[in-house]
Structures are given as structure tokens and as C-alpha cells.
């Protein structure tokens, strides 16, 4: 653990009053190991050049590095390199499905099934599409007692769904959905038995699990680098090539074309068709380094460490008078997220009070207002652990929270 932590320069930072930083906002973005920072530095200090269509040495090295990043990031997620389209993150990846695939393949009367548990990134693009094209959206409700998706409702709704969009792991509840069953039901029962297309939002899953795109058997998988140790500004969408071929171009311009004349243009095949303009080159180098760094861990162990921290912390927190936990932490599959509120201290006040102890905690609706509505709250405070968080940090968090409640509750 010492070794892991020493890879993260920021974790040695001291905060207000000389207290050590206890970073518990990993679901918003994780910290970056020095391997990632150094990979980008090295890119800028030795290699920087625009990629593709170029002959000179730097351009060759940059292109090779950029395309190697694609190969090895794709490999990490169990897919060949031509299955990975780089985007600026999960949000843009989902928008690419909405603009590139759904607008080309869905029309009035078609049905998208999604859930009350989604991040806004997996709601708003569909609402805009729905308004524009008359596609129907159905939201699978949350079972209020178990805080899991109502799978009976899903089974009914999916039967005439054309597209199913589900978050793999909630960024609020710690719940990992039964993605395997959701995909299987969508494929076997969806679209009157012809099978529905499935988009999985894996933003919160990738930092926890080793995801295998091809084994999963979904059609679209959306990811962000910055939530798994990589830099900001990059993410990806996994799509099988035969589906890519049914997608219209989305963002257009240089690099994604084959020929341009005044009369019209023809487009590249494969991921390049969707990567217009100068790509996120340094960012690809950085994400690649993150994936290499993560490959050195057994993700099952990592997940166990994180979910144990969350489970134990949640249990101790619920013993603090006035604290209520929103979420599930009793299952092995749960993530590192613990949402909570105090009956009297406002979530935002809590976060300030925790911050003065060096604890970085998020508050708000977590871009999941429909889920907040389902929980009957307008916001929660949220801690979220990642692989570098320790038992000691969790303990001192619980202590600090206890003393805040004593003093201000």
C-alpha cells in the first residue's frame, strides 16, 4: 500500500492546518499515478507532433504511440483495436451513440429503455433525441427498498425496446447492476425477440472491474480515462466494426475523411471515421500509461479492498446518530461509493466541516437528479474510495465525522 501511495504525488499534500489530504472523491475523478504524468511529460518533451499522414520521425513516433495506446487500451478491455473510438469521455461517447447510431437507426415510435439510476450523461442525450425524433424513453424504476433496478419492470419494458442504456455501476448508490442479465434479456427478449441494442455506461465500473467488452456482449461501452487513473480530456466508446458501419459520422472534419471535393466527401472506415481533427494525443499516451499501471494489479483484489472499505465505513457511519446511508454496501459487487446525509446538518455544511479536517468529500445531486427524486432527497454527501485509500483514512474519516456530528449536530 505504501508503494501504491508513493506513486501518487498529490497524496503527500498537506491541507489546512497541516492535516494530510484524505481524498475521498474518487467517483468524481481519481488521482493520477506519476507513471501517467510522466508519460505525458515524456510525450511533450520528446515526441510531440501531430499524428497520421506524416513522414518525419516525431510524427512517426507520435502516431505509433497514439495507435499503440489504442491497441493496448482496447486489449485491456478485451477488444481488438478497431473496436475503440477515442472520445473526450463517457459523456461524448454516449452522445456519439445518440448522434451517430441512434439518429441513423431509430425513428418515431422506437423505444429506448433506460433507468432512474442513470447519470445525466445517459439521460439528457436521449431526451433531446426523443424530442427531436419522437423516440419513446422508458425509465426502469428503482425498487425503493432494495435500491436495485426493478427487474420485473425491465423484463416487461425490454420486450419492444430497440435500445437499452444502463449504467453498470451507480455513482451514487454503490450498486452494481446485474449487467449480465440485463444484456442477456435485452438480446433474447428485446425488440420482440429480435434483440435490442445495448449501451453500457461503464464510467464507474472501469476503476473497479476488469471489463471485457466482447465477453460482455453489449453493443456500446462508454468510458472515461479520468476516473481510472488517466488524464482528463479523453475516454472512449467501444463498438463492434459491423455496427460502426451502420453509424453516421458525428463530429466531422480532417482525419475522418477519405476524400473531400466541393461536391461531397467520403469517409474513413473504422474508428477514424468518428475521430475528426487533431486527436487527444498526449491524453492517449496518458490513458495508455494508466491502463499499463492498472494491469500490474489484480483487479479482483483491488475491488475487494475498495468495497470492503466502503462496507465497513458505511456500517460504522450508520451507527453515528443522525447519519443516514443512501445505498447498498452489503453485496460483494458494491463499489467504493457511500452516500449519506445527516438529519440536521446540511450536506454542504458537512462537506465544509469535513474539508477542514482534510477530507475531500463531494455533495450535490451527483448528476443524477432523477435518482435523487427517487430517493426523496435533493442532494447527498458522498465519499468514494479507490485503491490507494487505506483503513486508517477510513477510520479517521469516521472519527472526524463523529466529532462533527457531536459538535454541530
Amino acid at each position: 500500500m505504501e508503494a501504491i501511495r508513493s506513486d501518487f504525488p498529490i497524496l503527500t499534500r498537506t491541507m489546512d492546518g497541516g492535516r494530510p489530504l484524505v481524498y475521498l472523491d474518487n467517483a468524481a475523478t481519481t488521482q493520477k499515478p506519476r507513471q501517467v504524468i510522466e508519460a505525458m511529460n515524456s510525450y511533450y518533451e520528446n515526441t510531440n507532433s501531430n499524428v497520421h499522414r506524416a513522414v518525419h520521425t516525431l510524427a512517426g513516433e507520435a502516431t505509433e504511440g497514439y495507435e499503440n495506446a489504442r491497441t493496448e487500451i482496447a486489449e485491456y478491455f478485451g477488444a481488438p483495436r478497431d473496436h475503440l473510438i477515442f472520445t473526450s469521455g463517457t459523456t461524448e461517447a454516449i452522445n456519439l451513440v445518440a448522434y451517430g447510431w441512434a439518429r441513423a437507426n431509430l425513428s418515431k415510435g422506437d423505444v429506448i429503455v433506460t433507468t432512474e439510476m442513470e447519470h445525466h450523461a445517459d439521460i439528457v442525450p436521449w431526451q433531446i433525441l426523443s424530442k427531436e425524433r419522437g423516440v419513446e424513453i422508458r425509465y426502469i424504476p428503482l425498487e425503493r427498498d432494495t435500491l436495485t433496478l426493478d427487474m420485473d419492470a425491465f423484463e416487461i419494458a425490454v420486450s419492444d425496446a430497440n435500445l437499452v442504456c444502463v449504467v453498470h455501476t451507480s455513482n451514487v448508490l454503490g450498486v452494481r447492476n446485474d449487467i449480465e442479465r440485463i444484456i442477456q434479456l435485452s438480446k433474447s427478449n428485446g425488440n420482440d425477440g429480435k434483440g435490442a441494442f445495448v449501451m453500457i455506461d461503464a464510467a464507474q465500473a472501469a476503476p473497479h472491474e476488469r471489463i471485457n467488452f466482447l465477453e460482455m456482449n453489449c453493443d456500446f461501452l462508454a468510458l472515461s480515462s479520468h476516473k481510472m487513473g488517466g488524464p482528463t480530456g479523453i475516454g472512449g466508446l467501444f463498438v463492434r466494426p459491423e455496427i460502426m458501419e451502420t453509424m453516421d459520422p458525428f463530429i466531422s472534419g480532417g482525419d475522418m475523411i477519405e476524400t473531400v471535393t466541393l461536391e461531397g466527401s467520403t469517409f474513413q472506415k473504422g474508428p477514424q471515421k468518428f475521430e475528426a481533427g487533431t486527436p487527444r494525443i498526449a491524453e492517449a499516451f496518458g490513458w495508455h500509461a494508466a491502463v499499463k499501471w492498472l494491469s500490474s494489479f489484480d483487479m479482483k483484489e483491488v475491488h475487494k479492498h475498495i468495497s470492503n472499505l466502503a462496507r465497513e465505513t458505511a456500517a460504522r457511519m450508520s451507527a453515528i446518530p443522525g447519519i443516514k446511508i443512501y445505498g447498498r454496501h452489503d453485496m460483494e459487487s458494491c463499489s467504493g461509493v457511500v452516500s449519506f446525509l445527516h438529519e440536521k446538518i446540511h450536506a454542504e455544511d458537512l462537506a465544509h466541516l469535513l474539508d477542514s479536517g482534510g477530507f475531500a468529500v463531494r455533495t450535490g445531486h451527483h448528476c443524477a437528479q432523477p435518482l435523487m427524486d427517487a430517493l426523496g432527497v435533493s442532494s447527498t454527501a458522498r465519499i468514494s474510495f479507490w485503491l490507494y485509500n487505506t483503513k486508517e483514512e477510513a477510520n479517521s474519516f469516521v472519527e472526524h465525522l463523529t466529532s462533527i456530528v457531536d459538535r454541530f449536530g
Partner: protein, 142 residues
């Protein structure tokens, strides 16, 4: 030091004596309970909402019977309500023309700003600006 109204100077001094951020927060929580004119939730409207604040905060400026300035306000987060209360106590009953000339840097003096996040500091400055403008309008109108 600027010549603050006496009640504000007192509050500033109280904050200066605080040992750490936690104590300052405690003091803010105390002031949150001392709102001179609480704006009840049923009177929270889009018009009196303070923009740029993460939590809900509402403020209205009024004149008392003698033409003295009054801040009616409330917030759902205590730290914000504490700031409103300090402002409200600090300017209570002053002529609006004097309120219009106040500068918001008493928050620096109180060392509270270091404990505010930028977004909340912005929210606070927005609120203060709105109050100063209202006071200026009132004093012009007078």
C-alpha cells in the same frame, strides 16, 4: 482597517479570536441561529434567490419604519445562513446610503474567506453586491 459599522467590527473581532477553521465554523453556526429577520421558506421565491450559490439562499432588503436598512434572509445550509446573519446584523438599521458604500472585504478580515470555496465565495460576493445595489437604489429613491 476600514470603518465598519460597530456591530460588524465586533463580529470581525470575534472571528479573529478563533483558534482554527472549526471554531470559525462553530461561530458561523451560532450566527446562523441569530438571523435578525428570518425569511420563512414559504417566502423563498425565484426573485429573492441568491444566484451562484450551491445551496438555496434567499435574501430580501427592506426598510424599517425609521428608514433603516434591513436584510431578511435564510438559507438551507447553516454556513451560508451564518454569513447572511452577520451581514444582516452588521447593517441592521443603518441608512441605506451607508450600506451602499460598504466593501465586502470584511469577509477577508474575518478570515472566513479562506474557509469558503470559490463557488461559495462567489455566491457570497453576488449576494453582497445585490444588497449594496439595492441599498444604493433605496438611498437614491430617498
Amino acid at each position: 482597517m476600514t470603518n465598519w459599522p460597530a456591530p460588524l467590527t465586533n463580529i470581525i473581532n470575534e472571528f479573529k479570536e478563533c483558534f482554527d477553521r472549526m471554531e470559525r465554523y462553530e461561530l458561523l453556526f451560532e450566527y446562523a441561529d441569530k438571523l435578525p429577520h428570518e425569511l420563512l421558506t414559504e417566502n423563498w421565491t425565484e426573485e429573492n434567490r441568491v444566484k451562484g450559490c450551491q445551496s438555496e439562499a434567499h435574501v430580501e432588503c427592506k426598510l424599517d419604519q425609521k428608514g433603516g436598512f434591513q436584510i431578511h434572509g435564510a438559507a438551507d445550509a447553516n454556513l451560508v445562513q451564518g454569513l447572511i446573519a452577520i451581514l444582516a446584523i452588521g447593517v441592521d438599521g443603518l441608512p441605506p446610503s451607508q450600506v451602499a458604500t460598504l466593501s465586502p472585504n470584511f469577509v477577508d478580515e474575518m478570515d472566513v474567506k479562506a474557509s469558503l470555496t470559490p463557488s461559495r465565495a462567489n455566491g457570497f460576493l453576488n449576494m453582497f453586491e445585490m444588497i449594496r445595489k439595492t441599498a444604493a437604489n433605496m438611498s437614491e429613491g430617498a
